[in-house]
Symmetry: C2
Subunit: 220 residues, 2 copies
């Protein structure tokens, strides 16, 4: 398998081309680090963007939802696949330049274009749902009550193959025009990070229930 | 003005209706707290979702981009407005239930539907661009070199009135079925937060340039 996704007209940016990345490693890291993605699809001909969790298993991205939810209903009505765009964005910093128009954000994002299919195969569906749990907390899928037939029937899983994919990455300092660098304004980066705090037991958790290792050792 | 946005069929969820919020205060707080939004629009009939910064000024959401970027080109070709969906999501926690299918995420999100218009009025455009800077760091617009005519000509601003708007908020513990509460699995919430670190001066910043008050006092 190529180490890079093949670029297409749609995944080639018109500006800031130096920020584009196509290597699978970068794309996978961004997808895996973000808790959520934003799913874009068409509803009655108009764009709708919804936040949802995701899981990457190899070269497939899985999403899930109630079979009565908008995206799953739309997918069920599109037997040849639902046109979607799934975007994941991590914000790493606020970039303050001397010039107003050179302000920016340090970020890492991935855009996946394609036609999502409803997962019909029972084994693939179970793998995807386990992947969604392990995406939230690696190891969790093996440490909870598995879905029962009623729950499985009420839940739909979408699969989107990672074929038309690109990442964008901006890092580092502001880039001001040379003639602006003598201006008196402060310039630099405010780092932004996402952190996970100490897990808080549910109010109805039996006292003495140990916190699992995969949570104690978790770092984000 | 009503304290709530008027709900429509498109902003009334089919599930978890108790999570929906329509009050302007909640919507404004979520929009203002998030550094970025995700903009959904149609490109050649397919959905595209891009991350971008935003600013809310009163009841209008402003976005900006190069006049050569996808969304601005699409908006320029849609004189009666570009159908968009702008979504903002803040992740507050990972919700681990005893049952696989009751896992969730604590989050606050806003979905804005509407037709975005290109801002032609020069004064409104300047206000919007200042708003985008102050959204990154309140006070910044007054402390940088303003846009010059060339930069203004190369930049487009989109305005989206906050009319068809809804928020969704999930908070608190996992909700397990009663018969699952005796299972031995740990349950609870892993809090997630976004923090801004100490500002890092640009490598080419003249030594002795003071860090502005609005950055020193910034907390996220």
């Amino acid at each position: 398998m190529d180490t890079e996704y093949r670029r297409t007209a749609r995944t080639t940016p018109t500006r800031y081309r130096e920020r584009a990345r196509y290597d699978r490693e970068t794309v996978h890291q961004i997808l895996d680090e973000s808790t959520i993605c934003h799913l874009g699809y068409l509803s009655a001909g108009r764009p709708v963007v919804l936040p949802t969790t995701h899981a990457r298993l190899g070269e497939t991205l899985y999403l899930h939802g109630s079979t009565g939810s908008g995206p799953l209903l739309a997918a069920a009505a599109a037997p040849s696949g639902l046109p979607v765009c799934v975007t994941v964005t991590l914000v790493d910093g606020l970039v303050l330049a001397r010039a107003a128009m050179h302000h920016s954000v340090n970020f890492r994002s991935v855009v996946v274009l394609g036609d999502a299919r409803v997962v019909d195969d029972g084994a693939e569906k179970l793998r995807a749902l386990a992947g969604l749990l392990d995406h939230l907390a690696p190891g969790r899928a093996a440490d909870c009550r598995p879905p029962n037939p009623r729950e499985l029937a009420a839940t739909g899983v979408l699969a989107l193959d990672l074929v038309e994919v690109s990442a964008k990455v901006r890092t580092g300092d502001p880039v001001d025009d040379p003639e602006d660098c003598a201006l008196p304004h402060w310039a630099g980066v405010v780092p932004v990070s996402v952190t996970a705090g100490a897990p808080v037991p549910a109010g109805d958790l039996a006292s003495g229930t140990p916190m699992p290792t995969y949570l104690r050792e978790r770092r984000r």
